[in-house]
Symmetry: C2
Subunit: 762 residues, 2 copies
């Protein structure tokens, strides 16, 4: 059922604040190290977290929001190994230059490099028989991953491999044994899961190569270029095309220094002394090989591997320091790994010149902003971008400008849905660029043009072609006889419309506000009071029958979920939903049952979602806000218990700790907010729901220069219940926290205890 | 033997002076029409000449040296139909945007357009069963081709098609019958002979599309983009991918307005009234779709088909007017068609911005010159470029600058051999960019940097990888045991080296001059006195045995020829060759026998070369200078008779008139010089060989502003022999004509008669 995976995997883009200037100025003198007396936060990051099982995270080095994400690939076939690396595998195919972090669908993995000894092999081979190809055995005992660094010693060849990354470039340091047959393979056909449709390679001089390939992948038509400089001239080299060396046969000249085709590989041959180190510097570009070389030379002018490693570590130190917490080592490791994962995407996607490959497949120059790609918006609008609003507002503005450029270049005049390096994958549903923009706009993120942004929002929400949006606008729901996933689409459109209305309101566009507010109530049209659940309706207004609230089928009325799960999705009007359900008591009783329902046989098909508590699936995004609904429905103690349960069971500091696809950081961003004690149930609104803090103390350095403080007195494994709380020193009894308290640099103090205080927050 | 064709086809680039400024300023107010009282020279051009049989010419409209060469394709498979159009075919596949003129190997034919009626077909179908696909029957009675214009009425659909071309853009005007099912197909997979490896298409708005494909052809890796505007919005459209419409199926959105893949087609659907005209404007670019659109909009801002046609015609009028002749209508048709063919290539290869796709596959901007592509140098160095030296010096300088840019971008640090739109095909032998540059430099062409050019020449002639050049330099010959075509290569290197020496001499580089002069004598090393012929030698100095002077085998010692033909190839030292042969008498006797030798069975393999007189093959370039050797060996009357024989039998004004591949105009340039009575046997030298004029009078407007005049008194079908001659009014008895007489705007007067005057020129 590989094909099916394409549809039902969730895929989330992680969006994090992005040292935009430092990305551009990376090759300038090193970013100042944080105060030497401060503890190093990067030491807490465990890049292997999420690499075992469904987390699909990427363990290699990367600058924050880096374009070059260089790392080991152990798999290139499985949907289940979307980042290329699965901790359970025991052999490595090689080291490629780009990766997705935590998505449900594989792509990238461009350009594989691998040092070898002996007669070079030209196919990767299989996991069960690594020697059938160039695959290299390794053991985790010989492997290390830390911020900005990855190292592994390959078992059979005894070559030590070290990787470091700058924003658009990286280094590979190989330490060889003495050998007459050392080789560094570059495989241009390598890409995760999909197909290279064309490639080319040029040997620019005795120690420099450039290359290109175009990939027909999840991103349908994605070019990438690279340039690699080797620390010493090749002792010999060969380009292999279709498995045969490119040579001049004495007839009419054929250059052995360049080739183009579907199956091109490069072999750099060396005779090495014992422990001889050969280092590669590699740059990438989406526009052309010349820019790849320029990116490389601008960012890594010399051969100092350790400096690149330290510069990137220093850049991360600065980013991680935006939230400083107290807590146990395990808490810090879990927390800062989540911060790290949250800041791996969206990814820089422009040359040092500002050139990038646009959605219209022309080369554009980003003027006045830094261009980013990889927007997993169905996931990241929920908690990632609201986090950026607070602590990465400059990058958030750049990301919004990148989305507006996408809109300008879109043949359908749509904001991105799930965009991936100059391509729209059309993955997932809704128009969730809207909440991202609106949340930023209403919360003081500047650096983009609100009128231009609103025009894009409105045109997107009124698109005549996209997913029956205008049928929805006319009927009040997406009819299931016209469109799959009709209930999920209706519910998510209604939320996005509410966001559009909020922006219209702020901009004084009263008619638009009224229009979108009306649409935002469309969720009501699919609420079937007979079940107290959301249910599909056809274009004649008839309910979809038969109706199984626990049914998930691909292409049914729900997106990666069931009615039982999606019926909680009205973030823009929780009181309205509660009223439909018959009041807070009934609402909460129903919610209780969600966590104890045994998933029925109907719930087949979603085979990679874990984190299951009853029919609550923490491993996928539609559940992410649900626990917090207890807080908004008068029974916050139930949220407090469930949140701690999830934090304990679905997160941690081990490779297998993540219960579901990290989805470009959304799983991690959920953790960050939840650990701090609150969560943006409805991005774009002026308040958070209060949950239950999981760390004793946190300082958040906001983009506006202020510092927000959270303390949780008496917090322990057992003391998970809020006894009382103050905001800015004054008692606070609501289970909702105004956005302005946080962004205004306020202070909240929880007092925790072992029993619920059912008076608080009710 | 299709594969064999790749090797043994000759392919000649036609090089002609190129209104560089007018190319860039084309969309400015129309080029001034020539004096209204002057006869229209464009009326004499017969674009169908050479389209029947081996001429391989292109009959569609093009600006002089145009990038857009838009025309009908009747074949897309055969080597024998390299331009896509064979006059003998009775159905047309469609109309594509680019073509080669007269090459021996097919390529280009990018992006097919075809108007149809009825259910659209998606495959071209076959010549024997046109209805099996979209092929359209036609008759020459319904077809017209003139300068800047092509028209055909398609038999079954009754659609009238008209084509016009601007430098980087063109128009297609379709006149439809009344129909509910009119359609304009665009097939992105169409290319002549080779394969489209990837393509994409975008519907930019209701009447504009853009597209791209990359072709793995003779040019191994060649991208091209187009943009097309339709004169009225589509009534409907479909993109077809792998034969199926690209549609949104109601699941998750898929835009119907864009697609990428290996098999992409576009269908613009219309309901037409009787005689309704729908016009397309189409631009191309090698750099991106945006530039294709810019090129289009800059060159054709409105919808005036007739103005585009007239502007291009006016541009040609100016170019053809550089030589004004008197003569019969047939003579004028033959002559001006030759001029037309000589000015179709090399082709403009840059956007209006100056951007072009370089040999290194980066996008470059041509600064200070106009970039040209398609250099068939093995052919065109002989007569084409020497003609450009005289009457297209500005374009010649641009072409040289284009070749120097190629050199800068060459991974092998080589000047072009046979370059084709950002690719080096490595077709044919030698380094004949050298004579092109040297002939221009020594004869006053300015606008390029001689020192830079000489450095490129020297590095090319000293290349350590290319075709055993340095083995030749060391041994004195190319050894046949190391390198195929060893004799041809030795002889042609020696000539190229002589040219390099001439440039070194003028630049005062005495050592280099001596070095290359020494190399230029290497022809002597392969002269076997036992046969009086050139013969292969191995690296030990042993003659290649057995030796059959009439043998041609692919990959043997000779390039598309035999020893019997190549033994005349010492243009740089004809006296030296005559001496080796034992003096003028013996030399001429041997030459006599060339024309009466019956081609032996040994001469198999060269199946597309016609124009055979004995073992003289006028249809291929190695023979082109041979007849003139009579003039240099004291028996010019034999040249006079043979030249007239060739002019009468191998040229003319009918589709089947050209006896061999026009090779980008070299066959035509031979005609032009020969008609004027002289020929550049040794480009780079300071003299021409005098042949025998074939037209009564000619005025040549030189690039330096002067006018050269030739008259041939008493010329007739019988009066082919020179009786006497004056140069600038003074009697002239040498069969050689100084370059300065021509370029100085001199006047030569022949007096012709029916019998040889064996005293003259002896």
């Amino acid at each position: 059922m590989k094909h099916a995976h394409f549809h039902h995997r969730s895929a989330v883009a992680l969006l994090i604040p992005c040292l935009c200037m430092s990305v551009r100025l990376w090759a300038q003198p090193a970013v100042a190290r944080p105060d030497a007396t401060r503890e190093s936060l990067t030491e807490y990051v465990r890049p292997f977290v999420g690499t075992q099982g469904d987390g699909n995270t990427f363990p290699g080095p990367s600058a924050p929001f880096g374009m070059m994400q260089i790392g080991p690939d152990t798999d290139m076939e499985l949907w289940e190994t979307a980042s290329g690396y699965e901790y359970s595998d025991s052999s490595i195919i090689g080291f490629s230059l780009t990766h997705l972090n935590g998505t449900g669908i594989p792509d990238l993995g461009d350009f594989l490099f691998l040092p070898t000894i002996g007669t070079p092999k030209l196919i990767p081979g299989s996991k069960t028989a690594p020697d059938s190809g160039y695959r290299a055995r390794y053991s985790h005992a010989d492997e290390e991953a830390s911020v900005g660094y990855y190292q592994v010693r390959l078992k059979d060849s005894k070559i030590n491999v070290e990787l470091a990354a700058a924003p658009r470039s990286g280094m590979m340091r190989f330490t060889f044994p003495a050998s007459d047959s050392a080789c560094i393979l570059t495989d241009l056909t390598h890409v995760l899961r999909w197909n290279v449709v064309w490639s080319r390679l040029r040997v620019e001089n005795d120690s420099t190569i450039t290359g290109y390939h175009n990939v027909n992948g999840w991103a349908k038509d994605r070019p990438l270029y690279f340039a690699a400089r080797y620390s010493r001239p090749f002792d010999g080299y060969r380009i292999m095309s279709d498995g045969k060396p490119v040579v001049y046969n004495g007839y009419r000249f054929r250059s052995a220094a360049e080739a183009a085709g579907k199956d091109v590989q490069f072999l750099a041959h060396y005779r090495t002394r014992a422990d001889e180190t050969i280092t590669l510097k590699i740059g990438i570009s989406a526009t052309n090989a010349e820019n790849a070389l320029r990116n490389l030379d601008a960012e890594i002018p010399d051969w100092n591997f350790d400096r690149v490693r330290e510069q990137t570590k220093a850049a991360w130190e600065k980013e991680l320091g935006k939230i400083v917490i107290e807590g146990s080592r395990e808490q810090k490791e879990t927390f800062y790994t989540a911060m790290y994962h949250a800041f791996l995407a969206p990814c820089l996607y422009e040359d040092v010149s500002g050139d990038y490959f646009g959605l219209d497949h022309n080369v554009h120059r980003a003027e006045g902003f830094t261009n980013y790609a990889i927007f997993s918006l169905w996931d990241t609008y929920r908690a990632e971008h609201p986090l950026f609003t607070l602590i990465q507002s400059r990058c958030d503005a750049d990301m919004i400008n990148s989305m507006l450029a996408h809109y300008d270049q879109s043949v359908e005049h749509l904001l991105p849905v799930w965009s991936l390096q100059g391509n729209e994958t059309w993955c997932m549903i809704g128009y969730h660029a809207v909440p991202v923009i609106v949340d930023a706009f209403l919360h003081g993120v500047t650096g983009f043009d609100p009128q231009r942004a609103y025009a894009a929002i409105k045109n997107t929400a009124m698109n005549p072609h996209y997913d029956n949006v205008m049928t929805y606008a006319k009927l009040g729901w997406v009819p299931y006889d016209k469109e799959n996933e009709s209930v999920s689409k209706t519910l998510e459109y209604a939320y996005d419309d509410w966001c559009a209305a909020q922006m219209a309101k702020r901009l004084g566009k009263k008619e638009d506000e009224a229009y979108f507010m009306k649409r935002s109530q469309n969720y009501r049209n699919l609420f079937d009071p007979a079940y107290g659940l959301m249910r599909g309706k056809d274009s004649q207004g008839k309910w979809h029958s038969p109706f199984d609230p626990h049914l998930y089928v691909e292409g049914g009325d729900f997106t990666e979920g069931t009615s039982w799960q999606y019926s909680w999705y009205v973030p823009q009007d929780v009181p309205g939903l509660i009223a439909l359900q018959g009041g807070k008591e009934r609402f909460c009783r129903k919610l209780d049952s969600l966590f104890v329902t045994h998933a029925s046989d109907s719930t087949r098909g979603v085979d990679d979602i874990r984190g299951i508590i009853g029919e609550y699936w923490h491993g996928n995004e539609p559940s992410h806000h649900i626990i917090y609904l207890y807080s908004l429905a008068g029974q916050p103690w139930k949220a407090q218990a469930r949140l701690h349960e999830v934090m304990k069971t679905q997160y941690g500091n081990a490779p297998g700790s993540l219960c579901g696809n990290d989805d470009c950081g959304q799983m991690s961003a959920w953790y960050i907010f939840t650990a701090l004690g609150f969560y943006p149930v409805c991005p774009g609104s002026d308040e958070y729901a209060i949950g239950s803090p999981c760390i004793p103390k946190a300082f958040m350095k906001l983009s506006n220069g202020k510092t927000f403080t959270m303390t949780a007195e008496n917090l322990s494994q057992e003391n998970v219940y809020i006894q009382s709380m103050t905001v800015n020193g004054k008692p606070w009894t609501l289970a909702r926290l105004p956005f302005d308290v946080v962004n205004g640099g306020g202070k909240i103090e929880f007092r925790m205890g072992p029993k619920p205080n059912k008076e608080w927050g009710n």
